[in-house]
């Protein structure tokens, strides 16, 4: 009745059903790591063609529109431009095409910047294979599972995972509260954008302080509520959510590992 729209509130999860979506998130994380390492090792244009082909095929399998994957590259345009220019003009090389003072455009330079560009674009756009197909909760569960051997060394893996899930749960709550606070202070004349620097700073404080204070109070209340429901830490705790590793996860990971190894080998 009075409900607002819920759903995944942040992160780039793209809610469709696909083979990739259904894979165990741990397999996806490991596979993505392997893929990234492989991409780093590629130093030939021809191999990049294979990488891109493989990437597109995977995106297609994951039913992710290409436009979405490419959109994530948009944010990096400046960085990409910068690195390619640096690489183009400052790489030492033999076959000089153009020269002006310190700037020297060589074939090697072009080659190097081209490879760098392809590498960065590949890394960013294909990382979507993980982030578009896995919810933040799944990622948190997967990390908790993968890192659990560290518990033996005293690393508070469970606690980190619990922090993650609670933080995710409270994001919309905090966003809404921040909005209310900003509005409350604005109605008292608080403005971030105009007025003297001192006034503007004061306006920022007027939002940050209540936000922090209330967040801490929430944490306090929540801790008591968790205690009241028998929370005593990670010992003896069984999670409702289960990650089930299946044959297709082994298969997918194996295929990716082989592919990554091939990419590494192609370097030499």
């Amino acid at each position: 009745m009075a409900a607002k729209k819920g759903g995944i509130r942040f992160g780039s999860y793209y809610p469709v059903d696909s083979f990739v979506h259904r894979l165990d998130p741990r397999a996806k994380i490991l596979a993505m790591l392997a893929f990234m390492v492989g991409i780093f090792m590629v130093n030939k244009f021809s191999v990049f063609a294979v990488v891109y082909l493989a990437g597109f095929v995977m995106l297609k399998t994951a039913r992710i529109p290409l436009s979405k994957a490419l959109r994530s590259v948009r944010g990096l345009v400046i960085l990409l431009l910068f690195t390619s220019l640096i690489n183009m003009f400052f790489t030492p090389g033999e076959q000089v095409l153009w020269e002006a003072g310190l700037l020297r455009l060589t074939v090697e330079g072009l080659e190097r910047s081209g490879l760098m560009l392809l590498r960065l674009v590949a890394l960013v756009s294909f990382s979507g294979l993980l982030t578009f197909t896995t919810t933040p909760i799944e990622l948190s569960d997967a990390l908790e599972s993968l890192l659990s051997p560290l518990r033996r060394f005293g690393v508070p893996v469970h606690e980190f995972a619990m922090m993650m899930t609670i933080a995710l749960r409270f994001i919309p709550v905090l966003l809404e509260e921040a909005d209310k606070i900003v509005k409350a202070q604005r109605s008292r004349g608080g403005d971030f954008r105009s007025g003297s620097l001192r006034r503007r700073l004061n306006s920022i404080i007027a939002v940050v302080v209540p936000l922090l204070y209330n967040a801490l109070k929430r944490a306090d209340d929540l801790a008591i509520a968790m205690e009241a429901r028998a929370y005593v830490g990670g010992e003896g705790r069984v999670s409702l959510r289960e990650l089930r590793w299946r044959a297709m996860d082994t298969l997918a990971l194996a295929v990716m590992l082989i592919f990554a190894v091939c990419l590494c080998v192609s370097h030499f």
Partner: protein
């Protein structure tokens, strides 16, 4: 202070948790000094309307005029600044915790006026006056707002808005969580201040009995539309409409209607329990005479 809305629509305000309930085609005019109640079921757009009036969110279409200030200019650049708004309208939110931030109560009260460019002398004078009127001891000025009791916090939050003497005051559920005594006290402070300044008050509340006790006019929203805009006594005559909109009748009205349904003859215009009691007693005498013979 005239508040004028003409065909105001606001459909989308944000994503997910920041989503704004839509309002459609709202037109109304409120004059200086009026006491207006704004009611409607949760999700009917009350908060949206309140925020539109205070200039905190922008309308998609239509005109909003706060006296001489236009809140809906054609060019985004010409949108009113926070200071222009703060001079004309003050908003009191549900929980003081969304507002209190300063190191001392004095600084808290000074925040608004400082933004408006008042001199320290003006601020100090206004602070003293307001403290007295709200019954807060002057020692409170050096205390941190976070150390105050719940009731004191609310008073300080209210004071920090009232100090700017806004001609229009909008309150969004100011009575939630207050016990009976605190509620009455808060209301009396509010009304006393209003009388002194002849300010306009728009109050959102789901406590219909409370609204019935002081509002002169009632606005009823349902699913983003303004379904009823009438002087308060008449407003409660629209029994079916109010039921449709999920708005309860004040107890006094329910009572007189109940007695009428039971066969007694009495006017059903009561707003407060006292009025209802009088009407019922009068009807009782009549009914008694009828039985007697």
């Amino acid at each position: 202070m005239t508040l004028r809305l003409q065909n105001v629509c606001c459909r989308y305000g944000g994503e997910g948790p920041l989503e704004v309930t839509a309002v459609e085609n709202i037109s109304l005019e409120i004059s200086r000094g009026e006491l207006v109640g704004l009611v409607g079921h949760t999700g009917s757009g009350k908060s949206t309307l309140a925020q539109l009036i205070c200039g905190l969110i922008a309308a998609d279409s239509g005109d909003i005029w706060l006296e001489d200030l236009c809140l809906t200019p054609l060019k985004k650049r010409q949108r009113p600044k926070a200071i222009d708004l703060a001079q004309r309208v003050g908003m009191v939110f549900q929980y003081p915790e969304h507002q209190l931030f300063a190191e001392t109560v004095a600084q808290e009260l000074a925040y608004g006026p400082e933004n408006l460019g008042w001199t320290p002398e003006e601020i100090s004078e206004a602070t003293q006056r307001l403290l007295k009127r709200l019954g807060l001891p002057p020692e409170l000025l050096t205390v941190s707002p976070y150390q105050l009791s719940g009731g004191e916090k609310r008073k300080v939050a209210l004071a920090s808005v009232l100090i700017m003497q806004p001609p229009l005051l909008v309150l969004d559920e100011p009575f939630v969580g207050l016990d009976a005594v605190a509620r009455q006290e808060f209301l009396q402070l509010l009304l006393a201040w209003q009388k002194e300044n002849n300010s306009t008050i728009i109050c959102i509340s789901h406590d219909i009995d409370l609204l019935a006790s002081f509002c002169q006019r009632l606005l009823v929203l349902n699913r983003g539309r303004l379904k009823l805009d009438a002087p308060i006594r008449q407003a409660f005559n629209e029994v079916e409409l109010l039921e449709e909109c999920g708005v309860r009748l004040p107890t006094a009205r329910q009572a007189t209607l109940a007695f009428q349904a039971a066969g007694w003859q009495l006017p059903t215009e009561a707003l407060t329990l006292a009025e209802a009691a009088e009407a019922i007693k009068a009807a009782q005498t009549k009914a008694g005479e009828q039985i007697g013979g």
